[in-house]
């Protein structure tokens, strides 16, 4: 069999595994109880590996926030000293079967969504999405949101989800795509569908009324609630694709605000990185272009599985957040087909005649077409201490893909 034939067969297998994925929300639990290898005095973060010295401002702010949240430091200055002294371990979420939005920070007492891929038996994890600490805000108000999630909402949702015997996510995502979501920054429909599904079980699960009511308000009014779930579902769907010998399919795209990194199935365990790009988009009132940090977050796992930018054509509502036109959104979805392995039979876009979203980004096709995937994303400040400042569209650096292709040739051509 020629190398080309081996690659094509491997990519068909990768595509089969992505399409077969069956993500089910099975629990909401403390990260320390469920994430493999998450130790005390360790912070998981988004993107490829990064040191405190090279970390961008927003991610620095977020890890300082986690030191305060865990009680490891009493004030931000003390936290920064501990981090600079190397007293806190920093590891990528992706090395622990996990993803996190924006700075992506997760410690043992942060509660996480637990999603099981029932087709393959693996589990993936993601923390909740909010608009402050994950963007680098470590103020008492920002940390109060994390505490509420830890003490009230997370435990209540976990109880309800276990009572339900899990929440199948494949059907829910497919339905939300028909309702104008793209599962990255437009998750209004999926958040509502999830809140509707979980609400009656919350009411009858025997928790104190005050906790139930608070959780119903939280779940029913959080426009980004489902992003944590879609990220965990995407991660759970993509992890079985890792390590398919000779496959050129991308298994992760992730950014830490300093570097953009990708991982490739047939090159398991390696990162291919380049400087993080600038996001083109809309800033909230009061912020200027020079305030914006560079691209950050594990949320591009949604584009990796074929949602987000690949599904933009079916989600024109998101353009109020990212900017751009409906024609451009349709073109983005069409373009992604040219650099992918196939189309999803389950995740359909009405605006594109119910055709499936593009699945299985192929590094060969990206380099050949000189066209990188499109990602819609939020924007953080370049300095620590701020919440969300905007949203927009970003493209990964081509250098990540050319580096991966060169390494692939080195490994497999010999």
């Amino acid at each position: 069999m020629s190398l080309k034939e081996r690659i094509n067969a491997a990519n068909e297998e990768a595509l089969r595994r992505i399409v077969a994925a069956d993500p089910v929300l099975v629990d909401v639990a403390p990260a320390g109880d469920v994430i493999p290898g998450l130790e005390d005095r360790m912070i998981l973060h988004s993107g490829p590996p990064v040191t405190w010295e090279r970390m961008c401002g927003a991610q620095r702010g977020a890890v300082i926030g986690m030191c305060l949240f865990e009680g490891w430091a009493q004030d931000p200055a003390a936290a920064a000293r501990m981090l600079a002294a190397g007293e806190i371990a920093l590891e990528p979420n992706h090395h622990h079967g996990t993803v996190g939005p924006m700075a992506g920070t997760i410690t043992r007492n942060m509660w996480v969504w637990v999603v099981e891929n029932r087709a393959f038996g693996n589990r993936a994890f993601c923390r909740q999405v909010e608009s402050f600490q994950q963007f680098g805000d470590h103020s008492p108000d920002a940390l109060a949101g994390l505490e509420k999630w830890r003490d009230t909402w997370g435990p209540a949702l976990g109880t309800a989800v276990r009572k339900m015997g899990g929440v199948p996510l494949k059907q829910l995502v497919a339905r939300a795509l028909l309702m104008g979501d793209e599962m990255h920054n437009r998750v209004v429909a999926s958040s509502s569908l999830f809140a509707n599904a979980v609400a009656p079980h919350l009411v009858v699960c025997g928790l104190p009324t005050e906790q139930v009511v608070s959780t119903l308000f939280y779940a029913g009014n959080h426009p980004f609630l489902f992003l944590g779930l879609s990220m965990a579902a995407a991660k759970a769907s993509m992890d079985p694709v890792r390590g398919v010998e000779a496959s050129t399919v991308v298994t992760a795209m992730a950014r830490n605000g300093t570097e953009f990194g990708i991982q490739v199935s047939g090159l398991e365990g390696e990162w291919f990185t380049a400087p993080a790009p600038r996001v083109q988009g809309l800033l909230l009132p009061g912020w200027k272009e020079e305030d914006a940090g560079l691209d950050m977050g594990d949320s591009a796992i949604t584009e990796t599985v074929g949602w987000g930018g690949a599904a933009l054509g079916g989600a024109p509502g998101i353009l109020s957040f990212t900017g751009g036109t409906a024609e451009q959104a349709l073109a983005f979805s069409r373009d992604m087909r040219g650099i992918s392995t196939g189309l999803s039979p389950d995740y359909l876009m009405p605006a594109l005649n119910f055709e499936g979203t593009a699945v299985g980004i192929d590094i060969r096709k990206v380099v050949h077409a000189n066209l990188v995937p499109v990602i819609d994303t939020a924007i953080a400040h370049r300095e620590p201490g701020h919440g969300i400042i905007g949203g927009g569209i970003v493209r990964p650096p081509m250098e990540c893909f050319t580096k991966a292709l060169a390494r692939f040739a080195e490994k497999y051509q010999g």
Binding site: L3, K4, I7, T248, R364, K365, V367, H368, A369, N370, M398, T402, L405, A406, F408, A409, Q413
Partner: protein, 57 residues
Amino acid sequence: MPTKVENLLQQRPVFLIVGVRGFGESLRDAGHQVVFLDWSPPAGGDPKLAALLDDLL
């Protein structure tokens, strides 16, 4: 009777523009009929990457 070539030369030309849209846009602005074909050299014209892709894609 005019030949096919003579017939062709008596009609208004239709321009097929491959890749570089700018060439066709000025013709279109001048009133000519233009058909655009999206094309770019493989790997953005990088010969080393194109050679790699010959073996892999």
